[in-house]
Symmetry: C2
Subunit: 282 residues, 2 copies
């Protein structure tokens, strides 16, 4: 269980940072918060979610645990500027949706006495800002811990304790390679598909004719335009591979349509039906 | 309002034919039903949804209105064999999800005294068989009437009366070209995308890591493998055009990822977000 005497500081009080603060508060923990936006800090203070709040980094020197909820490219800049300020013996963790590059850059910019343990709470949504914070969304979400060979058991246990304190439904452990490959397929490719389907044609006149299928496939085309390009860029090798694989599958199906290969299509539809059933929520 | 004295016969008592029979029954109409499967006929009789049922086509000669719920290629064969049996002065309609080819083949195989009015109730689902019939699903579904220049007001009015009797939420009127183009994009392309995303890789080990996005995009990968290849083949010109347009959009986005064009991606995501908001259910 997470030690209640640890000084925990959340860096970034947006949708996710605010939800973390709320979740810790509701679980009986005391945390502090940092954000460059004074309004976000005041909101967290007024809600009672954080004890101390600041727009500068002075809280770092007294923090045993630092949780960055910054966007990936923002975290890269922030750690280059502030990594040296982290307290000796402290642990820093994060929430970013891509891992290999983040792990490398954070480790390169923190003192030897500080340990970074990478985490990915899979609980994003299309809204942004602390006013949309909702820690209860964690209760049916996955929390992924992404340790490297250099991580200690102490740091990995701490990551698990955080997930338990915030009441995540499930904890998984993946390598950075496994994580980024999985995210490239399950999350990033699906968002590129939804955006492309929405953008490919001027479709406003079709609203009244639209059924559930199209709405399902484009729900995530309503997307945070600041965050996702950063995620795509930091995972571009895997993402491009997934896009190529998907286009190859589409081209192959298109050829069956063109040649009126009814049997070939039937096999593909049977396969997709069988596979999809395994993904039904239990 | 639909005349209660009309002799109405439903051809095909599956998911949709059964739902039609149930809907007419619940609205106080008496209809008859035909299916080659004796069990389906018995089921409809036992539910009280049809008054007379048969596995042959003898009911046609006394029917003022014939509603085919057959799959498109089955309807093509059926009308070639039985079109000449339709009663003089009767009207035949359908439920198929593609229109240009169906309109041509039905009109070529019915007597001059019979009129075909094409309809598309947009209320399909992944289940099949009369045991899944549910007329209440029509209450939030679109009913599309697809008249040609040869259709009379009487036939178009009858199609509207059917939609009203079955309590469809909305009635739209489109040309066959408009219908098939719209369906190629909103429905057929989305199904090809879902099937391709599901089939492109062996993904069973990812079930425990899967979030809402992937589940949303693949829900319709659970698909009727007998019906959809027929729909794809009968609309292949439009569908192939939509697949090409979609792949072009994906390739263009992929290039932005490869060149790390953060601003270009932002614009695309802002566009998709703005467009998607118009598709939110009111």
């Amino acid at each position: 269980m997470l030690d209640k005497n640890l000084q925990i500081t959340i860096v970034g009080l947006g949708l996710l940072g605010g939800s973390y603060a709320q979740g810790f508060y509701e679980a009986g923990y005391t945390v502090n918060g940092i954000d460059t936006d004074e309004n976000a800090v005041q909101y967290a203070l007024q809600q009672g979610w954080i004890k101390k709040g600041s727009t500068d980094v002075s809280l770092l020197k007294e923090s045993d645990v630092v949780i960055s909820t910054l966007y990936p490219l923002v975290l890269k800049e922030w750690i280059q500027a502030n990594g040296c300020l982290l307290k000796a013996g402290s642990i820093i963790t994060d929430v970013t949706g891509v891992k290999r590059q983040i792990i490398d850059v954070v480790n390169a910019n923190i003192p030897e006495t500080v340990e970074f343990i990478a985490c990915h709470p899979m609980a994003g949504r299309e809204f942004r800002g602390i006013q949309y914070a909702d820690a209860h969304r964690f209760h049916d979400a996955n929390f992924i811990i992404v340790p490297t060979e250099h991580n200690t058991k102490k740091a990995i246990d701490l990551a698990e304790d955080i997930a338990h304190a915030l009441k995540f439904q499930r904890i998984s452990v993946l390598t950075a390679e496994e994580h980024d490959e999985m995210i490239g397929y399950l999350s990033q490719l699906t968002h590129v598909i939804a955006v492309s389907l929405m953008n490919m044609s001027d479709n406003e006149h079709l609203v009244s004719l639209t059924g559930d299928s199209f709405r399902d496939l484009t729900r995530i085309a309503n997307i945070n335009e600041k965050l996702w390009p950063q995620l795509f860029i930091l995972n571009k090798d895997y993402l491009v591979k997934e896009i190529d694989g998907f286009i190859h599958e589409m081209e192959s199906f298109k050829q069956m349509i063109e040649t009126e290969d009814e049997e070939g299509m039937k096999e593909k539809l049977l396969q997709s039906t069988e596979r999809r059933k395994k993904f039904d929520r239990k």
